[in-house]
Amino acid sequence: MPLGSVLLAFVIGAVIVAATGGNPFSAYAALVCGGFGIGCTQGENPALQISNTIVFLIPLITAGVAVALPFRAGLFNIGAEGQLLAGSIACTAVGIKFSSLPAPILLPMVLISGMIAGALWAGVAGVLKATIGAHEVVTTIMMNYIAQWLLRYLIIGGPLQLAAGTSKSSPIGAGARLATILPNDNSLFIFGLPSSVFRVHTGLFIALAAVAVFAFLLWRTSLGYEIRAVGQSQKAARYAGVSVRRTIIVTMLIAGAFSGLAGAIEIAGVDHNLTDKYFTDTTGFDAIAVALLGLGSAVGIVMAAVLFGALHAGGSVMQADANISGNLVFILQALILFSIAANFVGAIRQRIPGLGRPTALPPQMPPAAPLMTEAATPPAEA
């Protein structure tokens, strides 16, 4: 993980805080407390903070994969949020409709429905890209909005609404719920709090398994080879006999499945119903930063997800304790992105002799692509 970029971002962030009259030290101390439960001074429970961080990072892992995989094929998946929503919607709908089914059947059903919905959502963009070269940035953004409005339609006065006047859905059946890792018991005390307070759920293991699947897929299968070949050069891949069109479509389908899974896990593990929380959810966008920071590797994605999950959890504590707006977290995120994209650290190293060779740009950065690519003229191959 490009640590230099992260550090640089935090330094610039500190300058911004200080320049506007804030105290960067207390801000960052609060972030560390909120994210990792270390050094808390206002009575926050460390185990609770860590639990919150983990809850936030679980969807970021699979969503991060959903962005990282297409990167390898030279595609930019900004539609992870919409695909995630599609997955949440499918998971909820199935979880409500079949709520009486027992867990061994219902749980896989809702998760798979989520993956299918997400895949379809991304597939639209994949097909448009492969056939007529429409840039996935635009098509996936459109799909994001369609998902948003579909969600509103469904839970405000629509078929999934719980009861008149609420803006949320009915809850999914008990069989569709992912168990919490600690017992969901109000009277069992662990770490000084009732164990039900710790919302960490088994979706964590699913997410970790998913990222392992991603790594296996990318490096140990012929499909993965094709994906990477297309990402390096579509022309060369074609000469090598790879069907660029098919690869693009399949890549987007798989990516969508990962995002949809993230959405389904979030419903099955945390919310158990669709709520207005998704009107302002930013997971899909955070996932872009996760994928980039993680340099597209499985371990990197997990570590980056930990960082951003911690930032999210830390943001509320920073607001309450240090009176710095939680939005500083977004500023830091953007700075990290700038830093990686522009390779500031590399440039700094170049200018300061003795700091070592400049590091090259992460090789899996998507080649900067125009908004309609060479695939706009459909190649003669099948």
């Binding site: 579909l150 939005n327 977290v329 995120q333 522009a342 900067a368 125009p370 908004l371 459909p378």
Partner: protein, 316 residues
């Protein structure tokens, strides 16, 4: 079907189209900016962030100085500053332009709320009095024309400015030497460089212009239509402007048509008190329409050839 009848009935009212034009202009300004930027070869998806930044600083300035014109200038400057970050990172450091664009949007969203907290604390950002907003202006005489008078000549001052800019930018891009240079830089930067055109300067200028235009749109939103700043008040309009730009094949008038379609969607939605179709399903239409139109663009549109590729002098 009563719902469809309601909508059709609405479509023949002048009020609807008046609202449509205003909503379209809000999208048109950033779309024009994006067009200029992309024509010069720099992918720019940061309109959302530049617009939001412009909106915030426009409101802050207007609250401080009670002068909407000055505030608009501040808003445009703020947009330009955001754009210059994108330009610097993309052109100088040759960063991936899409990543940089997204980073700008995240940065702007975070920075504006962060600054609200720093400057105004937990208090209201404040509302600007009627007298310090960008005014609506009825063009005397012309505004009495039936139907069109209301739609075209009873609008906010910025709408007129935007329509003028639309024509101006079209003329500059396609009928002046400057426009030729911009397009040359976007198509064949190496050849342009050889011919003595300063590629970097043109690109910087184009990106900063997109910032100015997006900032202007932010000012229109915050101190022309609304009277305060609200976190995320641009609500994705910058991204829609991006779609409009592509929809319009990187031409100003093409983008305008697309903006009108999106504006129409917004205007119809606002009428949800009197139409009996689900406003949520209605709201999906502009996006579905974009996808359909994009699907129909096969082979018939190409972006500037060097769009998105950082220029390395002396390469190739």
């Amino acid at each position: 079907m009563s719902g469809l009848g309601d909508v059709l009935h609405l479509l023949i009212t002048a009020n609807l189209w008046q609202a449509t034009l205003a909503a379209a202009v809000l999208l048109l300004l950033p779309a024009l900016g994006g067009t200029i930027s992309e024509r010069s070869g720099v992918v720019n998806i940061a309109m959302e962030g530049m617009m939001l930044t412009g909106a915030f600083f426009g409101v802050a300035a207007d609250l401080a100085w009670h002068n909407p014109w000055l505030a608009t200038g501040v808003a445009m400057l703020a947009g330009a500053l955001m754009a210059s970050i994108h330009a610097f990172v993309s052109i100088q450091f040759r960063a991936d332009q899409i990543v940089s664009g997204i980073a700008i949007n995240i940065f702007a969203a975070g920075l504006t709320v962060f600054l609200i907290n720093r400057i105004y604390g937990l208090q209201d950002v404040g509302h600007i009095g009627q007298d310090a907003l960008l005014p609506n202006l009825n063009i005397p005489g012309l505004d009495q024309i039936p139907f069109f008078g209301k739609v075209l000549f009873q609008q906010n001052v910025i709408v007129y400015v935007a329509l003028v800019l639309l024509v101006l930018i079209h003329l500059v891009l396609f009928r002046t030497r400057l426009g030729l240079r911009i397009r040359a830089v976007g198509e064949h930067p190496q050849a342009a460089d050889t011919a003595g055109i300063n590629v970097f300067a043109i690109r910087y200028g184009a990106v900063i212009t997109s910032g100015l235009l997006s900032g202007l749109s932010g000012a229109f939103l915050a101190i022309g239509i609304s009277n305060t700043f609200v976190p995320n008040m641009t609500d994705g309009r910058g991204y829609i402007a991006l779609a409009a730009m592509i929809f319009g094949k990187w031409t100003p008038f093409g983008a305008f048509v697309a903006c009108l379609i999106f504006g129409l969607g917004q205007a119809i939605y606002d009428n949800n008190s009197i139409i009996h179709v689900s406003p949520y399903l209605l709201s999906m239409l502009p996006y579905l329409l974009t996808l359909i139109v994009l699907a129909g663009l096969v082979g018939r549109s190409t972006p500037p050839a060097a769009d998105g590729l950082p220029y390395v002098p002396g390469s190739e």
